[in-house]
Subunit: 325 residues, 2 copies
């Protein structure tokens, strides 16, 4: 399809065109890449929509992420909002697996006309995960979705990546007592705008409340960020299966977003993210020179020589750089 | 002085040669750099000493860092250990200031024959802070110091930097109640092997105990790292002015270090740090191409175009990279 026509159809909300466009940005082929760049340029230039709310969501397997997205997404659709769900999964590049490959995990939402669920690609180059994901987010935004949920499993740098392409970052946790509480990845609390303790129902209700109080306490130990009004970041309990706490959580997200819009943090953050990704792309492009097989071999050889005490990092780096010149 | 002779004198523990060598690695002049590289190579090849214990110490102004270093350092010297104190201060490159410039802050320790205090340089290139600091650490180790304390103020990436060049990382805190507790920089708890709450004396004793308990609780919420035996990372109270808790803290540091030596984490971590710095040096060398004034101007221009929505990060990055080729 011609790029111009594709852009028109996406802007008009055509789902098949959106899916084809996401497939295009996911492709590693050079001609596809050129088309994708042109398409995104075209859509950015239109830019006549109010920005969507991009919500990042992290949580380890077992916390009930799919159930949460299903219930939360259905609630939003029930309020007349259009919801897109994307997944960022750097591990799929290695495992060939896909965290959203099975749409049956979100049965209701996948049949909902106002929702769009995009599984993460089964295979892809590791280095391109960030670029591909934020381009898919931009495409969904151009297609007029009001809320874009970006799901990530807690693997490697994926949370940072998702936090840098979304407006709000949620951490979903399961209730846990005592030693089980050690599950939060170091550094993740620094990124969370809200912590939601799921499964606050049945036998787990009391544990969820206690877990929530523990994390509220831990959040208070962290330094206040300029982008947070009083009371944020905050921890709350929800139950995806009983569909409780979801409306209250959404109210808080809206209040936070509203505050950030009024104070300029929302737009400022978007501009900052755009600069960030531009600089990252340039840096990654430069560093890609080290990915050539012969350069990798030389890096590995020198790294082991340094690790073994045979030479210094400084001297070995100078040797490597002279080879790259 | 000839490099060979300088290496001999440093290895023999000559302080003037050590100071001259550190001045050499701090210099930005190309001929000094070449001499520094050769000297470090020479000292690495000797490598006939047991490794020193390198301790990183972070804490914001006002927690009593100098007083702690003075009391802790004097205690170590009293046990027959030789102690070097270095400072990593990326801010000094901008401000021209120096966190250890005034040795009078450590009056006793600066007169102690078994201690060596090196102020951070008043001016330096920002990019070279990490390399210069780890080279100074290597020089002190070659000079036979048993314990090397690397002090940092909590500015920017300085904690990560110090954690990557030391074997233990300590976070020094002051007692605080209620809202004041929000002072810990996000992400720093992930690096700390021990949190020491200072000023556990007089009126502040009870507050210090409570602060310590709060942080013990927060540390338990974080995931256990493989390099930690049971009970670590841990929080303890100390009083630098009353000189209490210091021996207990040192016992814990020794126990942790002993465990890591026996399990191989100590040596493994050193090798990992060497690989890390080698790869960092190569990457920084490549990225230094962006530091040329005309490249910086072009980066800034394109970043603003992207931030303003005029183009995409992807397209702008391609433009920049084609210019760098």
């Amino acid at each position: 399809m011609e790029i111009e026509a594709m852009a028109e159809k996406i802007a008009a909300g055509d789902r098949r065109s959106l899916s084809r466009a996401i497939t295009l940005v996911e492709s590693g082929r050079a001609d596809h890449r050129a088309q994708a760049v042109a398409l995104l340029e075209r859509l950015v230039q239109r830019n006549d929509r109010a920005p969507a709310l991009r919500i990042g969501l992290s949580g380890t397997p077992g916390v009930g992420k799919s159930t949460f997205i299903e219930a939360f997404g259905m609630m939003l659709c029930g309020r007349g909002l259009r919801v897109a769900v994307l997944a960022v999964d750097p591990s799929s590049a290695r495992s060939g697996g896909s965290i959203l490959g099975d749409k049956t995990r979100m049965e209701q939402l996948s049949r909902e006309p106002n929702a769009y669920i995009r599984p993460s690609p089964a295979q892809s180059q590791l280095g391109g995960v960030a670029r591909r994901s934020r381009e898919a987010v931009a495409l969904c935004e151009a297609a007029g979705f009001d809320v874009i949920l970006v799901e990530t499993v807690g693997v490697g740098q994926s949370e940072t990546m998702v936090a840098e392409m979304t407006d709000l970052f949620l951490l979903l946790l399961a209730p846990a007592g005592g030693d089980e509480l050690q599950g939060v990845k170091r550094g993740i609390m620094e990124m969370a705008d809200m912590i939601l303790v799921n499964k606050a129902d049945g036998d787990l209700r009391a544990t969820a409340t206690r877990t929530c109080a523990d994390y509220s306490g831990a959040l208070r130990l962290l330094r206040k960020r300029p982008q947070d009004p009083d009371g944020f970041p905050k921890a709350m309990t929800v139950s995806a299966v009983e569909e409780t706490g979801l409306a209250a959580a959404w109210d808080e997200m809206q209040a936070l977003t509203e505050w950030r819009r009024e104070t300029g943090f929302f737009e400022g953050r978007r501009a900052e993210q755009a600069r960030y990704w531009f600089r990252e792309d340039v840096r990654n492009g430069l560093l890609a020179r080290l990915d050539a097989p012969e350069m990798q071999a030389e890096m590995d050889r020198l790294a082991e020589e340094v690790a073994g005490g045979g030479t210094t990092a400084t001297a070995a780096a100078e040797e490597m750089l002279s080879r790259l010149r």
